[in-house]
Amino acid sequence: MSRAEATTKTAMKTATETSAVASPLSVVTGTGMGRRLVLAALAGAAADLAGVALIASAAWLITRAAEQPPLAALSVAIVAVRAFATTRGVFRYGERLAGHDVALRAQAGTRERLYRALIPAGPLPQRGADLLSRMVDDTDAVQDLLVRCLLPAAAALITGVAAVVIAGFLLPAAAFVLAAGLLVAGVLLPAGTAAAARRWSARIAPARADLAARVADLVHGAADLAAYGARDRALSAAMDADGRLSLLERGQARINATALGVGMLTQGLTVVVVVLTAQAAGLGRVATAVAALTALVAFEPALPLAAAGERFAGVVAALRRLRETAATAPAVREPADPAPAPEPPLTVEVDDLVVRHGGREPALNGVSLTLTPGRRVAVVGPSGAGKSTLLSALMRTVEIESGAIRLNGVDVRRLSSDDVRALVTGLTQDPYVFQATVSDNLRLAGPQASTEDIEAAVRRARLDAWTERTGWDAVLGEDGRTVSGGQLQRLALARALLYDPPVLLLDEPAEALDEETADLLMADLLDATRGRTTLLVTHRLRGLEQVDEIVVLEGGRVTQRGAHADLVAVPGYYRDLWESEALTRHRG
């Protein structure tokens, strides 16, 4: 398969995957999912039906027995009672197994589809760790949708219809009454709780967020509050937020309590009216008892639906959020017919590049630079100058507005973004440590790398002392060993060196390190990149006399460029920063 075909296929697959998350019901349309779901629903309905039939046949048995017929007249009812009593539990067991199986499958499918949809997406804007974890929680909603909403609703519907049919055989008027009662308890109440939950959560969510913000202020700002004697005020602000939230939560509890009360009332009154109707119609004692008890039990699957309605509103909101996330537009347009990737060694030309995030001022406004094989170029400038945007444009994770980036003369917009990143990549901003072993964390940048390769990369990143101490199999990440800022940057550097791209990008490798660590890392890094085609973004100037060219970015424009010695000689941002740093140096 040619590369072009592969890319087109990937693009198509992405399109279908995105739409697959699109509807709440789409989770059940996966391969074989429909059949499994129907099976689970049927098992649930069978369990509920057995429950109704058990009571109905028992009621018939008892009232008929009171008329003292010959024993033979009761034998079928006796068998039925015993059979329904046995099968109810078995069906319930089957329903629970099948339901959980289908829910787990649906959740796994949703997660995979969501992930695939996120791969080509741009950096999710303003998505902190909290929002990401909420997104993961949202994928759990699929389980609730099936196990707590759809399956019980299906079972209640089938049971309700069956009960109405039974009642219909006995007395059409009673069937009508029962149908009306079930409609209230099983349809109107859940619809009401769902609507109420939607309305209330629109009010509760901001109150909750407000409380969270006050608590965060109280906890994260504890030192500031204590130092400034402002604690009491912050405390009462938090308790006020708690009070407002409590008030809303009580309101919601009232709604749910009303649904519960009305449900019980509907059940009881339906039975009363069924009996009344039967008496008025002159129905026999046996038929009346069977109709009354059938009506009583038919509500059992329907009543919990009011609570399910409340959950359904939450599920729908969660799935809508997922849909919006999955629909995040791809960061860059992939070419329909990508050009073959150029062969290294590579010359990178950035030509009058303009990049804009949203409708704001351009982040890069006419930037040009050339990176020939083996050259090292450093980009410096204040925060917000567009340094990281430049690297993102080079890695094809933001779209170019005008101008061009060319690799050996080929415009990157004609290449697939995966191909570009295979050629131009490295240490990105905020490198991530996975919950995996040290070895796996490195190996992701070189799945086929030999142990020697990995060890060499680790040595060149000066991470070897650390890996010796922790061992290759130590688990890192959230639940594992914590990694200090310096080790994290070195780990990321080792990854970049292991991947060994033709053009190496390094984004603020000394970010968030203290001075001494930062100096050491920068020295190692300049050492390790000698002779590589490298673009280094930094705000530290020490050692930059070793690079071939320095580009100063300010406000998205190149304001100075040249070698270290040239830039220090003239007034400007570079000399200011250099003098400020030079003062640190002799104090060491």
Partner: protein, 570 residues
Amino acid sequence: MHKDLLRLARAERSVRIHLACCLAAAVVAGLLVLVQAELLAGVLSGRFAIAALLPLALVVACRGLLGWAQGVLAGRAATALKSALRRLLFGRVEGLGPAYRSGELVTLAGRGLDALDPYLTGYLPSVAVAGVVPLAVVVRLFVADLATAVIVVLTLPLIPIFGALVGWTTKTVTERQWRALARLGGHFLDVVRGLPTLRAFGRARYQASVIREVAEAHRAATMRTLRVAFLSSLVLELVASLSLALVAVPVGLRLLSGSLDLRTALLVLLLAPEAYLPLRAMGTRFHAAMEGVAAADEAFAVINPPQEAGRATAPAGAATGTGKAGGAGRPAPAGGPPEIRLEDVTVRYPGREETALDRVSLVIEPGERLAIVGPSGAGKSTLLHLLLGFVTPSEGRVLVDGTDLAGLDLDEWRRRLAFVPQRPHLFATSVADNIALGSAAGPEEVRAAAAAAQVAEFAAALPQGYDTPLGERGANLSAGQRQRVALARAFCRPAARVLLLDEPTARLDGRSEAAIVAATRRLAEGRTAIIVAHRPAMIDLADRVVRLDGGALVPPVPAPPISLQGGEAR
């Protein structure tokens, strides 16, 4: 019920009353089922006149009303209990010191406590009902029909016994599976968070298949566990329905022989399931309830921390709520900048081997500008926290104009301080309120402080000027801008005599740094300034530089040329 939770529920009047009424409503509604069965059996057997449907409707209405009341009261009890827990948690915030994992506390006080809702509103009422209603049903059955009562009494205990048995045998497997489930969610989150890194190394697409494989393996393992775990519900369901068959068939046969009347038979048929129902309802709520218990455990672990480490070394924040420590605090000497003297001060954090400060002696003259330098972890911030009263010396003492800091009224002492931390917290209020933090400054004073700290130049450009909300969900300020807001706070306290600055220019670029240094120079006029610094521009402000290493003062490095009164500190 959870022990600590019960104690709290008893102590809080609002929780106590609402919870008691809620449980009472649940029990009464449960008992009304007996009356309902009585009336229904009477009507259906023809024993009662059709007019008995009226009281039946009344009973039904009462049950509905009680169900509503139960829900409303449970909501009130739950919110009141959560409020009480939050108040206790907030009261502990300072006592936990800066080392506590603050993110977890924020989550716990917010969403974490919501796990109590199903416990309070669902589980507890079901326990109350399960404790009363089956007993009442059995008593009524004994009166009505001995044979049925015996069957129910014999089978009823099977539910808790089988429940416990199956639960017990599958407990460890189930728990392992729930943990695996949490890990699976963790794995997915991990991959999503690391997506930019995966993308950078061309591994993003490969991970999609890993997600599927991991989920599939997990599903297969979970289903193996569930096949056993759901046996408990199978057994419970079977016991309940088979008991009904065991009751109904003999009753039918006895009706046939005429030894039982129809009303009693119908009553038995209606009542028997009600004996099992509450126990099963309790069982289905058990899992959700355990999550509530876990949340309560977590909350009380913060509220009543296990007593460890000597009190002397505990972060002193606990005592800072009022700062008076039994009213014994003496007012801090007022007037100009004080003389601050550290005498052999050692600070040890609980649970840590090494000392944060090791026998530090230092005299800070009134009006002096002292820079503290040293590598990270040397104890520089601890020294500032010591002067702020956030930590207390394990040994030695801190004297302010000759008075031990431990005996001073901390609130009053802190009013004479202005503190600019390394990473100032911006509160989720307006820019103006952030600057006026803790002071009664009016808009004029806030603007003056903002101008002095060079906040004014960017505040004007914010969408709502000084009224722009800040904080996590508010306007995004750069590190330099945050630092300047924090400096403006210090400018907003003209009465402050001692300035404590913790690396105010760390992580700033040259130009932002120059602005902060200039502002600091103005702020330090007429005050004592203690500045943790490592950038030259900041250090150059100081009259004297002391160096900390490993918690101890080390002989000063050659003083910068502009130093006026460098010298040995000890």
